[in-house]
């Protein structure tokens, strides 16, 4: 009977299928388990600090009063980093993908990738020992010329170890991530769409605005989010560069603190409830990162219909 050949299957091929699907399932579950484990650890360890009476927490006014200034500080530092790094990274990526001659482009891409390989402590040392000193005259200028803006209120820090310096160092650190990812995405733009724009009489820049950037939009958002993730969580560079203190609106005075640096600086000598407090701070950072990523997902899916994936 020839009909039996439909029901019998090649054993080896099926086994491969099963192994592969089991492996991917295991990998997927592992990620969830790790994430869940981390979240669980953070919550359990943070609980004592969250329920403790306010006077036992550092500062004596409860956990919320302790955490919110450094949440703001974290967001400010990350925002500065993003504001500086995103346009530069997209510009560099566009230059590499669409403007530079091929030889220069590959060399430049290599150098940018190399930036990502530098350890953060080196960035921190560079920021603290070199950038802070060099940039303080600029802060003085800002204070005397734009001092009426709260964010540039004087007197500027003499050492230059301010949240703005930390933000600039962070921006250099996240630059390679955003650049590499967006460059790859820009290179993926279908030739078809680029030619469609050019054939309508678009200049190169107009072609980029019409075809490349809209097509790469979800990828740009993802790349920026990865950069933001690193900026939010970066510890060493901020700890070295920033002369921390209370929350201040001025970006060019010493002061402010980020969650990651706060944890790193205080954890070695901490004991008892102080440990719980720092872990609770870590939980807050975890939640912020999660929230930011969910917003990014939402931004991407909101335009799904127009993404070009259909």
């Amino acid at each position: 009977m020839t009909t039996t050949s439909l029901t019998t299957s090649r054993g080896a091929g099926r086994a491969g299928d099963k192994v592969f699907s089991a492996a991917t399932l295991a990998a997927g579950c592992l990620i969830l388990a790790v994430l869940f484990g981390v979240a669980l650890f953070l919550v359990i360890q943070a609980l004592p600090a969250l329920v403790a009476s306010p006077d036992k927490i550092q500062g004596g006014e409860g956990f919320f009063a302790y955490i919110w200034p450094i949440v703001i500080g974290t967001l400010i530092a990350a925002a500065i980093a993003l504001v500086i790094a995103t346009p530069v990274a997209i510009g560099v990526a566009l230059f590499i993908s669409h403007f530079a001659p091929r030889k220069l482009a590959s060399g430049l891409g290599y150098v940018i990738d190399l930036l990502a390989a530098i350890p953060s402590v080196v960035y921190g040392a560079w920021g603290a020992a070199f950038l802070a000193k060099e940039i303080s005259p600029a802060y003085n200028w800002l204070a005397s010329n734009l001092g009426w803006l709260p964010i540039f209120q004087g007197p500027a820090s003499a050492t230059g170890k301010t949240i703005l310096t930390a933000g600039i160092v962070l921006s250099v650190m996240i630059l390679p991530i955003i650049t590499s990812l967006t460059r790859e995405i820009f290179l993926q733009t279908p030739k078809l769409h680029e030619e469609a724009a050019l054939a309508l009489g678009a200049t190169r820049w107009e072609m980029i605005k019409m075809a490349v950037l809209p097509f790469g939009r979800p990828g740009i958002v993802s790349a920026v989010m990865l950069g933001l993730g690193r900026a939010l969580g970066e510890t060493m560079a901020v700890a070295l560069v920033l002369s921390s203190g209370a929350l201040t609106a001025s970006l060019i005075q010493s002061g402010n603190q980020t969650i990651a640096a706060e944890i790193a600086l205080n954890f070695p000598e901490a004991g008892g409830l102080k440990v719980n407090t720092l872990i609770a701070a870590g939980l807050v950072l975890f939640v912020i990162t999660l929230g930011v990523n969910m917003i990014a997902r939402w931004v991407i899916t909101r335009h799904k219909e127009f993404s070009g994936a259909n």
């Binding site: 469609a196 200049t203 259909n310």
Partner: protein
């Protein structure tokens, strides 16, 4: 709104490789001219030199002249961007911008020229262009939807609407039906027939029947062998090319003996 094209002694190179050699041709306004020939004979390459789109490929260059009503497209100081705004192009595969709505796709080229346009004017232009591309009735209720949601044939007509919205002098079509089914192909061919009342239309096609159906004049391109440059073998009235060609190679090709 339609101009003639005269090509004189045109050679097309990719870096050092001579792809198309010594083309002389005069393309009449308000008519359809078809380029036929086997794969790799340089007809698409030649078509792309007519609006300087071949320059998008690194290393591509031409020698010779392409005159649009007497103005050399390759003259000193001529901006390829201006050339392309006057000579529209429709590609082999439909390529509406996936990130734009149907309406924005039609207006894409017009917006480039920075013309300030009221919403009413824009609406009128969208309708006129889509009607011109025989697409209006199918999409008038979903102008805000993405162009990529249309069928292949509709997408190709959207691309034609986008091209005619800028009111070009010439429309170049690079195998516009090769990715489409017969019904959609018929719709495009009908459209080409209407377009020639207003525009100079040049179409590259693999499909000889299509050339015979839509064109007034036909140019046959061929290559002597791989690695050799493509040449214009014969050019004349479509009827003559298909019924009584003067060159043996043309006769062999149109009668289906090779290619």
């Amino acid at each position: 709104m339609s101009k003639r094209i005269d090509v004189k002694d045109l050679n097309v190179y990719y870096s050092k490789f001579l792809a198309v050699e010594d083309v002389n041709i005069s393309i009449e306004p308000k008519s359809v001219t078809a380029f036929i020939g086997p794969s790799g004979c340089g007809k698409s390459t030649f078509l792309r030199t007519l609006n300087r789109m071949h320059e998008v490929i690194p290393g591509a260059r031409v020698e010779g002249e392409v005159l649009l009503d007497g103005d050399n497209l390759y003259g000193p100081g001529v901006d390829p961007v201006t050339v392309r705004a006057q000579i529209g192009m429709v590609f082999q595969r439909p390529n509406p911008f996936p990130t734009m709505s149907i309406r924005d796709n039609v207006l894409a080229g017009v917006k480039l020229n920075n013309q300030k346009m009221s919403k009413g004017e824009a609406d009128a232009l969208v309708e006129r262009s889509l009607r011109g591309a025989n697409l209006w009735n199918e999409v008038k209720d979903r102008l805000a939807k993405p162009g990529s949601g249309l069928s292949g044939g509709q997408q190709q007509r959207l691309c034609i609407a986008r091209a005619i919205a800028v009111e070009p002098q010439v429309i170049l079509m690079d195998e516009p039906c090769s990715a489409l089914d017969p019904i959609s192909t018929l719709a495009i061919e009908d459209l080409i027939n209407e377009l020639k009342d207003d525009y100079t239309v040049v179409i590259v096609t693999h499909n000889m029947q299509q050339a015979a159906r839509v064109s007034n004049k036909t140019a046959f391109f061929n290559i002597a062998g791989t690695g050799k440059p493509g040449r214009l073998i014969e050019y004349g009235d479509t009827h003559t090319i298909f019924s009584n060609p003067s060159v043996k190679a043309t006769e062999d090709y149109v009668s289906g003996r090779f290619g």
